[in-house]
């Protein structure tokens, strides 16, 4: 089974990088005229699992020097090297979209961390010439909220994985949001014609319209949490709590392994926090809606960005169809 009749590489753009891949990756934007050298190369390889001397991490992940890897039962093995290479060894008969799901998620996330970025588990939305990131555990409603922001005309930067550079710039990813069928229904979007994330999940890829986006400074971080209080409340957090929350919501934080990785993660968080306002969004479990949450976050952004006129929030030009 081979991809591409000539076995040639396909070229894509993601997170500001040029990816050359042996595997077709439908979810990414193709690059028409690739530059000479790709930033990242994705190839098929025979992978035997963790190499000798590797540290075993939770969830079948491993780490050794500038390499890490993981295996997913029935999907395949992945190895990520020095922020430049992703090797994929698909399991026999694995569905291609499921292979890509882990390639674009865990593997690309780990690669961005190897490149020195702080990789957050959340969604980024453009606010004028800056951006806000919404963090939360799986199922907290991040993607539904991103779809709601998009419906309001705000540009969504990326879904699920947000790499942030050492200068505090969030990098734009692919213009798609992964949503469960019930969330799409709640937003009034029909699932006909949408691609399923993979055949085992009732979750779909929703393409979003947005302006061309460039890396933008991260100014606000909101952490979605469930609360037992009747009212939705936004509560600023400070000090060690910020670090604990950033650690908790760092994508695949199992990979922050060893004293050097912990030190470097702490410094990344420290640099980021110097220019960011971080808050918890405490939402009552039974009454929370994406609409009310979006209202509260936008109101908080307006209140804490006194120099920005409300109309600057939304994009001035119309979104190209």
């Amino acid at each position: 089974m081979t991809d591409g009749p000539d076995g040639g590489m396909r070229h894509y753009a993601c997170y500001g990088l040029h990816l050359a891949s042996e595997l077709p990756i439908d979810e990414l934007d193709p690059v028409a005229e690739p530059r000479d050298a790709a930033d990242v190369v994705v190839t098929r390889a025979q992978l035997a699992g963790p190499p000798a001397g590797a540290s075993a991490l939770p969830h079948d992940m491993w780490h050794l020097d500038d390499r890490c890897g993981f295996g997913i039962e029935g999907v395949g093995r992945y190895e990520i090297r020095a922020g430049r290479e992703i090797l994929v060894d698909p399991a026999p008969g694995a569905a291609r979209r499921t292979i890509r799901l882990y390639l674009l998620g865990t593997a690309l996330g780990a690669l961005m961390a190897q490149r020195g970025h702080l990789v957050l588990h959340g969604n980024a939305v453009r606010i004028g010439d800056a951006c806000a990131v919404v963090l939360g555990h799986s199922g907290a409603g991040k993607s539904t909220l991103a779809a709601e922001f998009s419906r309001r005309g705000l540009d969504i930067f990326s879904d699920d994985v947000v790499p942030v550079t050492s200068e505090g710039l969030a990098l734009p990813g692919s213009p798609r949001i992964k949503l469960w069928a019930d969330a799409l229904e709640g937003l009034g979007v029909a699932t006909d014609g949408l691609q399923r994330v993979d055949r085992r999940h009732d979750k779909f890829q929703l393409p979003i319209r947005r302006h061309p986006v460039t890396p933008l400074p991260l100014r606000w971080i909101y952490v979605l949490e469930r609360s037992t209080t009747p009212e939705l409340a936004i509560e600023p957090v400070h000090g060690a709590t910020c670090y604990a929350l950033l650690h908790e919501h760092t994508y695949r934080n199992e990979l922050i392994h060893g004293a050097e990785a912990v030190r470097s993660h702490l410094e990344q968080c420290g640099r980021l926090l110097s220019g960011v306002r971080m808050s918890r969004v405490n939402r009552p479990a039974d009454t929370m809606t994406p609409d009310a949450t979006a209202d509260a976050i936008i109101a908080d952004i307006d209140a804490t960005a006194p120099d920005m006129a409300p109309e600057q929030r939304a994009s001035e030009e119309s979104v190209p169809a």
Binding site: G239, A240, T241, A244, L266, G270, S274
Partner: protein, 90 residues
């Protein structure tokens, strides 16, 4: 009886934020922040120190006598040792 010395664990790296020192503990994802006297003591624990030395250092820097701060400093060291953040050596 030889005197116990305390030394902070070398792998614990702290960053400064809003006048506090923030560090991850020895458990993944567990963070601590230290301020004022505690932050100052942490800085001094970069080399092996006895309880007496640490009390003298606090008395140099703050308006307190070594005698008066001794119980607090001892309790702080005990707390750090319980969290495996310092090594105590006799």
């Amino acid at each position: 009886m030889s005197e116990t010395t305390y030394l902070r664990r070398p792998e614990l790296h702290a960053v400064e934020m809003d006048g506090e020192l923030v560090m991850m503990g020895t458990k993944q994802g567990e963070y601590f922040s230290l301020r004022d006297v505690a932050a100052s003591l942490w800085q001094h624990l970069d080399q092996p120190r006895t309880l007496d030395e640490l009390c003298e250092l606090v008395a140099d820097e703050y308006d307190v006598t070594a005698q008066d701060c001794r119980d607090d400093v001892a309790a702080f060291l005990e707390d750090l040792a319980a969290k495996s953040m310092v090594d105590a050596r006799s």
